[in-house]
Amino acid sequence: MFNIIEKEHFSEKVVKLVVEAPEIARARKPGHFVIVRTGSKGERIPLTIADADPVAGTITLVVQAVGDSTRLLCELSAGDSLTDLVGPLGRSTEIRHHSEGAVVCCGGGVGVAPLLPIIKAMKAAGNRVISVLAARSRDLIILEDEVRTHSDEVIIMTDDGSYGRKGLVTAGVEEVLQRETVAEVVTIGPPVMMKFVALLTRKYNVPTLCSLNTIMVDGTGMCGACRVNVGGKMRFVCVDGPEFDAHQVDFDEMMMRMRAYDKQKP
């Protein structure tokens, strides 16, 4: 069960794992996530699904080593298996066809992985899709070819200018907002990036969807660790999300809460 079929290093700390999970591969839709555990005492880690092949019965996960548990996961090789894998969890993305205006999908770092299925679905629904990929430097830009295949245009932004254009993701998004009608923006990446994308698109009054990756324990609507303030209401990322109206999310509170265990982790 949950055998790792294939492993690829995107960069030193980012790996792609293709995992055998026929039920999840069949049931998942864009936006869904899974919970993964490595080892009998392992932590439950939420990861968004980057891709799935229902015929082969596999799903693709992209993992960045940020703590002990994700590092352990990144150290696994093809032939190893995950101790636990459960999903698909959360609500799937609402994919709409916009007859007027483009859909801008902007992803930062490993956020591009969960963005890919949304890009695909948005394109398949007949939208003009403009993807903006951002990272600190060239080697951290992932899944570029796959994104290009399903986008009408791709804009690459790097902090250091080593690839594409130098600058933050918001510069790339604003360029599009200024030159053409945009019906919807989807943003997935680090919270601070999503916060600034939301501030920008609010200025242009463009509906914006974000996908949140808060701390979770069970991931099935039980513990409440993932609670966020959306439009003044308490919402649970695991069952009400992971996607929310980015203009309503209290990103500052969310970022504060994500530091809850910083001290205890090396």
Binding site: V86, G87, D218, G221, V239
Partner: protein
């Protein structure tokens, strides 16, 4: 629709010769003079240093003496106080005559989890509250202690290689699915397996047992006890599957396609409730579900578990139920110097079991009653540092008959805390109600069912917290039992 399997075991009735003999052997006056057994317990100073079970269980001599106290009433009221109508005098008298394994067999006919019930049921409000001894102004027979004794004796016998007693009908060729693996699901699964159904239990988490594993702490219900109850169900043929969310991994249609004749939903309580007061999202404020799940399910706090948990020095637990007691006692074991229950009513209205309150007091837990938090305050990093509590006084009785607390104007205190555990109840888990179309849900988010626990979809039954919104282990088990009887009758009728 009371299912009574006990009728087929006539040898155990009150009229059997051995039981009449026991009644005749000692006059009632002598029996009632025997003092009620005291539960041997770990010393409070020791138990807050570890997770070992506090109650150690009666020894055989104590159990037989306690069983002798039972007068074997002609019309035993204790049975009517039990949500699953266990044949209480029947099992107790078997303990008295030294046939403890027979006592365990009687328990298993009506309860899938006797070792659990003997530990966590509020007997003082159920069976024991109806005991004839209460009318004589004497402490009731310790039914819960005896139930635990019988179940534990059997568990030890099985561990020593005794042959398990498998009481089960021939396979009927029908297969049913169960969503969830808590007490309600297990009770249903056991009953259906006994009736000859193939039973598959699907659990979303990586451990089987639901609240028995993630919720109730080791010091009150050891995991080994739950595991042994699960083994009993496996011996009956029940199959367990972890990491599967019904409605997500497998839909209801998938189950029907795969040949299941029915689905029982016992997915339990879900979303924790919060109070909606300022500061509730500060770091260090969490639900009791989160706190207990981190520690009980994920092993947080033990050196080899990567899941972290906050270890507050001054911990406030908001609420007065059993989950609040479990949380506050856990906090003491996690090293809290001050562990405080904050409850808006008085001690007399507290819903927790008396035993839990007593144990908590022995362990140094403080009780701040007639107090309600109104705000949490944090440091510059967003970590909780204090709470403001409103002092209350008791006013007129409310709809529940309890005197409702009313705020004393201006009486607000600030108390230093570095961890707050909110234990003010849960809402039903929304996963399954959200994912099966055509399934009627009440305004509270619970699955709507008829008196037989059947939902708006005829092949789906539901029970436990997903129907009740929040209840005890034994009420959940009672639902599992009732649903099994009704679903079995329906499916067998359809089959004909």
């Amino acid at each position: 629709m009371k299912q009574n399997d006990n009728d087929i075991h006539a040898a155990d009735t009150r009229d059997s010769i051995w039981r009449a003999g026991l009644r005749a052997a000692m006059p009632a006056k002598e029996r009632t003079a025997i003092p009620r057994a005291a539960m041997p317990q770990l010393d409070p100073a020791y138990r807050i240093t570890c997770n070992e079970e506090v109650n150690r269980g009666l020894d055989e001599e104590q159990a037989v003496a306690e069983a002798t106290r039972c007068l074997d009433c002609p019309d035993p009221q204790c049975v009517t106080g039990c949500p699953v109508n266990i044949d209480i005098p029947g099992f107790i008298k078997n303990i008295q005559r030294g046939e403890t394994l027979e006592a365990a067999a009687i328990l298993k006919r009506t309860s899938a989890l006797p070792a659990v019930c003997g530990r966590v049921c509020p007997q003082e409000r159920q069976c024991e509250s109806r005991c004839i001894y209460n009318k004589m102004k004497r402490p009731p027979v310790a039914i819960g202690y005896l139930e635990r004794f019988a179940a534990d004796t059997e568990r030890r016998a099985l561990a020593d290689g005794a042959h398990p007693d498998i009481d089960k009908a021939a396979p009927n060729g029908l297969r049913v699915a169960v969503a969830g693996s808590g007490p309600c699901a297990l009770s249903f699964a056991g009953d259906m397996a006994r009736r000859g159904f193939e039973v598959d239990v699907f659990e979303a988490l990586h451990e089987i047992g639901g609240v028995l594993k993630y919720g109730i702490p080791e010091f009150r219900l050891p995991n080994a006890v739950v595991d042994s109850e699960l083994d009993n169900l496996r011996r009956l043929g029940v199959r367990f599957h972890t990491d599967i969310v019904i409605g997500k991994t497998l839909s209801y249609d998938d189950l029907i396609e795969r040949g299941y004749s029915g689905l029982f939903v016992a997915s339990g309580a879900g979303l924790p409730r919060f109070m909606g007061i300022p500061g509730e999202n500060f770091i260090g404020v969490m639900s009791s579900n989160e706190y207990l799940t981190r520690i009980n399910l994920m092993g947080a706090g033990s050196p080899d578990a990567p899941t972290p948990v906050a270890r507050g020095r001054r911990v406030a637990v908001i609420g007065g139920g059993n989950t609040a007691m479990d949380s506050v006692r856990t906090a003491r074991r996690m090293g809290a110097e001050r562990a405080i229950i904050v409850y808006r009513r008085s001690l007399a209205e507290m819903p927790a079991r008396i035993e839990e309150v007593e144990h908590a007091k022995e362990e140094g837990v403080e009780f701040l009653t007639l107090c309600n938090p109104v705000e949490y305050l944090a440091d510059e990093n967003g970590r909780v540092r204090a709470m403001r509590v409103q002092r209350m006084e008791l006013g007129q009785p409310d709809a529940s008959g309890r005197r409702s607390p009313v705020p004393i104007p201006g009486a607000i205190d600030e108390i230093e805390v570095d961890e707050v555990i909110v234990s003010v109840g849960v809402s039903p888990n929304p996963l399954i109600p959200d994912s099966i179309s055509g399934l009627d849900v009440t305004s509270r988010g619970t699955i709507a069912v008829d008196e037989n626990l059947r939902s708006s979809i005829p092949l789906i039954f539901a029970g436990g917290d997903i129907v009740r919104g929040g209840a005890t282990v034994i009420l959940a088990m009672g639902d599992g039992r009732r649903a099994a009887a009704a679903m079995a009758a329906q499916l067998l009728k359809q089959k004909k």
